[in-house]
Symmetry: C2
Subunit: 453 residues, 2 copies
């Protein structure tokens, strides 16, 4: 048993773990920092669907290696941590032990499948979408010549998988429990548009239904049975029914866990043990209105948490100015981008928020006769009375991904529609809407009118 | 003489005037608002260069009409204001007079040409780039079959004109007084890249030189003589040497003017006369470090000022939270977008600012093997000691136009690199960089390292 020591040990090589290690080493250059990861190469998690289409076309095109590690003097160890002893302050791999001063769990998440469907995972052709290189490689090979695909789940990964697999004479059907896809992240009027784009691409959708059985033929998946009585022939079934915190390694150590399995942390990602932190999907998340537990799992959230943990691990030196997880996401459905930040209006109502919203529709270029101009729609959600911005949803071109980050920044910095109304923006014919019709400003102005009347 | 009255009269139909009128009407629905404009149709000012190439191809494709005016009950009058009497609170057109309670000057800017070159404007083939539909239409017709074009000036309009005119067998040469183009808006290392893009497209550049003479042949332009002794054959000369405040109408009324001719206004766009405001290019601008006078003239700035004037014209009800003009611009040079917000490092040094900066280089997609991935470079400039963000410059794809608005928002809200380091962002393979390598965050992190060491 080889014995090692590092001041800071971070378990997990995903975005949260990687960025936490890098930030810690940059913040505390005299401390030793070790990142322990199971695989030499990591995939970009949110690009997994694109492996299945021409966009990337192979697992190899989706691999990243943390090139920064060596440059800044951080250590990387490839291996699987088998157990943790917090009293001895030591972690154990098959052939090594590493003692530490500070430990960070960044063990990510694993796929979630409802217990009633778990037995079907043993059939050939039934898959989840885990962040595992070998699994995804095999899955991609298996699906290549299959024609009938059923995707269960209407979140980002499910819809992106459906869209990417929808090529040639392959028939892709999505089964969902809601009227429209992506309904957890978008209000109905926006989700409806994503829905329309998906149907236009030829992907089929069965709404308000749920899978009650997955049947095989000699161990090979054959069909999917729905609650409505519908039966779908299937050569491939993809269960994109969510992820759960991968926090098993942290069990039995006296730490606390949330309802969804995440390790409970404070705003600086510290657990109840002063020398142990947790970041990313394995850590519990709180929404920012009621501060109640939410299930958001995003690489970008993990990155932000990794940074906060890394820079404050030996004493708080950069105050966090926002409490809660904003949940900013983007996706493309066909050629149209859909983004969301903060809470949807539907979610705000559930959380008892009194809100007012407006939708502005314009163009992402000016004049709108510019080449590659696309319709741009923005919805902003603000608190009644104070006009504080708490959510935003955008439909548009590829600029949407950065525009939503601006909305996220407004939410995170407690900005109001009145701040938005006077903001100075850059506009350029090829790049943005027209200056007098800049959509964030227009939408804020519409909300201000509503608040006055 | 027809006599009219309107509570609020706004002179000028450009972005500042239009948005001021709309905002005033929306804020004070019971007040009458009249917008007086010289032309029925306005051009999008920053899209003028694209009229000269296939991008738009005609003046008609660049016309906008203020469709919102009728809908909200605002009045529009097409005509030229000939004089103003502030004692009688009345303005005069050829056949009408309009008395008012509040008056807003939004008379924009006109082209600036050095006095030594003014005589050459009478030659056929010598042009400026005014915001005048008929002029631009004629100019576009004239240039169509001409092969030798000389552009004088290296600002956005000059470079965009040069790039758009550079097609087929036309030869375009730019003459500038600096080593690289766009050097007022970008620090050298960024300007250099825009420069390289322009040269790669085939446009020629003559650096560190200046025009001393423009010669004709029977009233038709023939050649341009430079200080260095170089002579350039020219069928067309475009003097893109800047704009000046069009504030003549406001002269002799007891108002104050800045060094560059702009009407002096306070933070709420009010002149020294309590009932008179000015917005946009005709109003004086101040930078936000030393609050000294600057020359920035942008439609987006005019829009922001129009909104501030419109909503506060009958008493301040939305406090302006930022003093000064940020100057956010973007442009495309070839397929690469260049954006700038706030001050350049060079300008900060001139204004006596102690700064620290960093440059981060990454990709605008992740993994960078995604289709249409482009190199993304960001430079952030922060104050020494406090790390407050005071400037940013970005090179990248079309997302750059919205990313720079995020940087602008950080500047306007006095955010620091420490705020940037913990910000939550959305990332998506088709739309943004990778979550752990989000460039604004990375650049802020690099500055933080420098400040620590």
């Amino acid at each position: 048993m080889k014995k090692l020591y590092s001041d800071i040990v971070v378990i997990g090589g995903g975005p949260g773990g990687a960025i936490c290690s890098v930030t810690a080493k940059m913040t505390y250059p005299h401390k030793e920092v070790m990142n322990i990861r199971e695989f030499e190469h990591q995939m970009v998690p949110c690009a997994i669907p694109y492996i299945f289409s021409d966009v990337l076309g192979s697992v190899e095109k989706n691999l990243i290696s943390c090139g920064m590690a060596d440059k800044i003097g951080m250590k990387t160890l490839v291996g699987r941590v088998e157990s943790v002893d917090l009293e001895k302050k030591c972690i154990y791999l098959a052939d090594k032990e590493v003692s530490f001063d500070k430990l960070v769990f960044a063990t990510g998440s694993t796929t979630f499948v409802h217990s009633s469907l778990k037995p079907s995972l043993k059939y050939d052709g039934v898959f989840t979408v885990p962040k595992n290189v070998e699994y995804i490689r095999g899955m991609s090979e298996y699906i290549k010549d299959k024609k009938k695909v059923v995707v269960v789940g209407t979140g980002f990964i499910g819809i992106e998988m459906a869209m990417e697999l929808n090529s040639g004479d392959r028939e892709v059907t999505v089964v969902g429990s809601r009227e429209y896809i992506l309904s957890n992240s978008f209000d109905e009027e926006i989700a409806q548009e994503a829905h329309k784009e998906m149907l236009a691409s030829g992907v089929k959708y069965i709404a308000n239904d749920r899978v009650v059985g997955i049947k095989d033929n000699n161990g090979v998946v054959d069909r999917v049975e729905l609650k409505s009585g519908i039966e779908l022939e299937a050569e491939v079934v993809i269960l994109a029914t969510g992820y759960k915190a991968n926090s098993q390694l942290a069990e039995g150590l006296g730490l606390e866990f949330g309802h969804y399995g995440g390790i409970v942390v404070d705003e600086y990602m510290r657990t109840s043990n002063p020398d142990v932190l947790a970041v990313g999907d394995c850590a519990m998340k709180r929404g920012f209105i009621l501060k109640s537990e939410i299930k958001t799992m995003l690489a970008s959230t993990a990155s932000s948490e990794g940074r906060i943990a890394g820079m404050n691990i030996y004493g708080i030196q950069n105050l966090r100015n926002f409490s809660g997880t904003i949940a900013i996401f983007s996706t493309m459905v066909g050629d149209v981008a859909f983004s969301s930040a903060g809470v949807t209006e539907a979610m705000a109502k559930i959380e008892n928020g009194a809100t007012v919203s407006a939708i502005f529709e314009g163009s992402n270029r000016h004049p709108s006769s510019m080449p590659d101009a696309q319709r741009q729609v923005i919805k902003l959600i603000a608190t009644q009375n104070t006009g504080q911005i708490i959510g935003g949803q955008i439909i548009g071109g590829k600029e949407t991904g950065e525009m939503i980050n601006m909305v996220g920044m407004m939410i995170e910095n407690s900005m109001s529609i009145y701040d938005a109304m006077t903001m100075q923006v850059s506009t350029q014919p090829h790049l943005t809407s027209a200056p007098p019709a800049y959509p964030i400003v227009m939408c804020a102005t519409m909300i201000a009118s509503k608040l006055r009347s």
